[in-house]
Amino acid sequence: MTDASYQPDTTRGSLTDASGALLAADGTPLKKKLRQALAVSRRRAFLLVAPLLLFILASFAIPILLLLVQGVKDNTFSSIMPETTSVLREWDSNSEPTEEMAAAVVMDLINAKKISRSLPTKVGTRVNREVSGAISLFKKTTRKAPKMKAPFLAELHKADKKWKDPAYWKAMKIASKTITPAYYAAAVDKKYLADGSFADQPEDRQIYVSLFVKTILVSGGVMLACVLLGFPVAYLLSHLPSRQANLLMILVLLPFWTSLLVRTTAWIAMLQSAGVLNDIFVWIGITSDDQRFSLIYNMTGTIIAMTHILLPFMILPIYSVMKAIPPSHVRAAKSLGATNWTAFWRVYFPATIPGIGAGGLLVFILAIGYYITPALVGGQDGQLISNFIAYHMQKSLNWSLAAALGGILLVLVLILYWLYDKIVGIDNMKLG
């Protein structure tokens, strides 16, 4: 090899275009070239997750979206009573009901009855949510409507004197709105009035706000109990030799593996007033035989059972964080002069916060929407907001109110998530 055969190439550096952006060897911009090169792998990655994406869209995202829409949209009235809806839109809700309105009501009821006998009842049910007595009013009016002749207002008054009460007309105006804040208002114990303003529900019907507060408090309590009970267990788990740690881990996970009914039965056997726990209390003299604690079918039962079920969700993230803390950190703290407590509190504990945060958030969010456990062991006053959502879905069939309650719950969770991100930082979270 001669010297001439090897010469450093000084003429060709990296190519750039007029704006100074780098060009690839064939003259296309480097960024574009890179995108092309990565496109194939990106497409493959997308295809891999596509089935799951579709499944989630179809079974989760779209239903939730529809539910949220349901909370503000109700076309029961406007679709069955189109004439009345358009006439009521003109009405200022303070003046006397007009002949035109009455005619529209009669026409709509006759038409609705022709399509299906159940339609007028549906309308009655809808109006009844705003003012009671509407179901019977609509039934009666529908029966007499075919024989009515003008003037319809007088005929209506003759058919049922409730029509003289402006409250029913106002209720119809509220019900006629397709997009309505009425359900969200109801979900926070407000009443949506015909003139567009809001008023408090009567005292005896204000239940949801206090229920939301109760749900949040119970969830917070359960979370706190889980931290207090779970932290020492996680600490023990992470410091045991792996054989014993595995055994203990199985015990921690046991609640996941037992059937819900078996668990519930076990709680009843343990907690009821003639149960094991109360027998022991009586036997060691904490309480007397005629003053046994009621530990189940009330709030106490709900909290005990929920803590039990949600405990693993707290232990696992804390455990995984503790596993990753090098033992040399605590040793370093001690060698620097810290007592056992100082070393724990100032060096070990801060390192576990991501785990506590993750576990706390997980437990809280699960608890806030918990349904089965309160339904089974909560009795009368151990019910949470989700039990009322379920009630409106299954019993009262007021899906829009259920959707509104669910929507508020969702917003609460999102706010919490946002708060957590602000305070702890979501990228600090370690789930395992």
């Binding site: 040399s328 040793r331 370093a332 620097l336 002069g337 801060p350």
Partner: protein, 362 residues
């Protein structure tokens, strides 16, 4: 050397034994005195008990038997946080949720020093390791070498009399490691603290230490300054662990005036310095590759045959067959007058009697 200033017994291990399972001793009857201001390195392969010794001194392990004294006082029953011993860990063990300055302030805060004093000492300690501008950074924002400096500053900031270092440079790359060795050595010289340093890297030990304790199998094999350890190993383990060594089995014929006349397995008769070999029986001859002479008129002549030559710039490494032994290494300096060696050729070798040591036949 700092070890001669009178306070020869700053740290004392007195017949210390340690067992984890009650069946085997990890540390066997350790007796060791460390002088104030000394830089002592515990060197040995993994599992030799050196780290256990360090942990017993720090207070994280308790000795099964024996006493450890610090400045004359037994410390067996003193918890680690009251010993006032600084420690640098293998992976730095900086607290990730504190800034560099907070890490350094930690030992001062637990000692309830005032804020002004703390700030002053922290900035001085950071300046000492040339990290003055990094006080507000988190440990995760620093490179390995910088973290090491911070860990060092943290172990020194509360002015301990004794600093322990557990393979502190193990995670650094070669160049940085060598640089940090000098830095640690200079800090030690400047502050005059006593340092007990654990490593399995012999060049690290040779570079930094006043004295090196070579550990194997729970026993100190030799305790000596670096030069003595290299030049005058006392047994076969030390000879082979520190630096490179050629070993030849031999049988002792006679010993007179500290010189052993021996017969090598091949039948050749040579002489070596009698160090640790008794008067009869087997011995292990040990000679450094750079002390082998390639010359026909050298004393203790043997016949060798060149098997392999490796060019290493400043010297040429020559593998030879000598006395039936195929791994005999000779380092030939790359000087203008070195004999031109060729693979396959025979070449006489020899050594000065003082350079070859007759050791125990391990």
């Amino acid at each position: 050397m700092a070890g001669t200033d009178g306070s020869d017994e700053f740290v004392v291990f007195d017949q210390v034994q340690k067992s984890y399972d009650g069946e085997t001793l990890v540390v066997k009857n350790l007796n060791l005195s460390i002088a104030q201001g000394e830089f002592l390195t515990m060197l040995g392969p993994s599992g030799s008990g050196k780290t256990t010794c360090l942990m017993m001194l720090a207070g994280f392990e308790t000795s099964t038997h024996g006493e450890i004294r610090l400045a004359g006082k037994p410390i067996n029953n003193i918890p680690p946080h009251k010993r006032g011993i600084g420690m640098v860990f293998q992976n730095y063990a900086l607290f990730p949720h504190m800034t560099v300055a907070e890490n350094l302030a930690f030992p001062l805060q637990v000692r309830k020093m005032s804020k002004a004093v703390t700030r002053d000492k922290v900035s001085k300690a950071l300046d000492m390791v040339q990290m003055g501008e990094f006080g507000d950074r988190r440990p995760s924002q620093l490179s390995g070498g910088q973290q090491q400096r911070v860990a060092l500053a943290r172990a020194l900031v509360f002015e301990p009399q004794l600093v322990l270092m557990d393979e502190p440079l193990g995670a650094l790359d070669k160049q940085l490691r060598e640089h940090m060795q000098y830095e640690i050595k200079h800090i030690h010289e400047r502050l005059g603290v006593t340092v007990v340093y654990v490593t399995h890297d012999q060049s690290e030990a040779l570079t930094m230490s006043d004295r090196i304790a070579v550990f194997d199998d729970g026993v100190i094999q030799q305790l000596a300054p670096p030069a003595v350890l290299y030049e005058k190993p006392e047994n076969a383990f030390v000879a082979s662990f520190i630096g490179e060594n050629n070993k030849l089995r031999a049988n002792i014929d006679s010993v007179s005036n500290g010189v052993a006349s021996v017969t090598i397995d091949s039948g050749d008769k040579v002489q070596a310095l009698a160090v640790n070999c008794g008067d009869t029986g087997n011995t292990m001859l040990s000679i450094r590759p750079e002390r082998v002479l390639l010359s026909a008129d050298a004393p203790n002549r043997l016949d060798g045959k060149v098997l392999e030559l490796i060019y290493l710039g400043d010297h040429i490494r020559c593998r030879m067959a000598v006395a039936g032994h195929d791994e005999f290494i000779v380092k030939v300096p790359n000087s203008s007058d070195h004999a031109a060696l060729n693979v396959g050729e025979s070449c006489p070798i020899g050594w000065v009697t003082e350079d070859c040591r007759a050791l125990d036949a391990a």
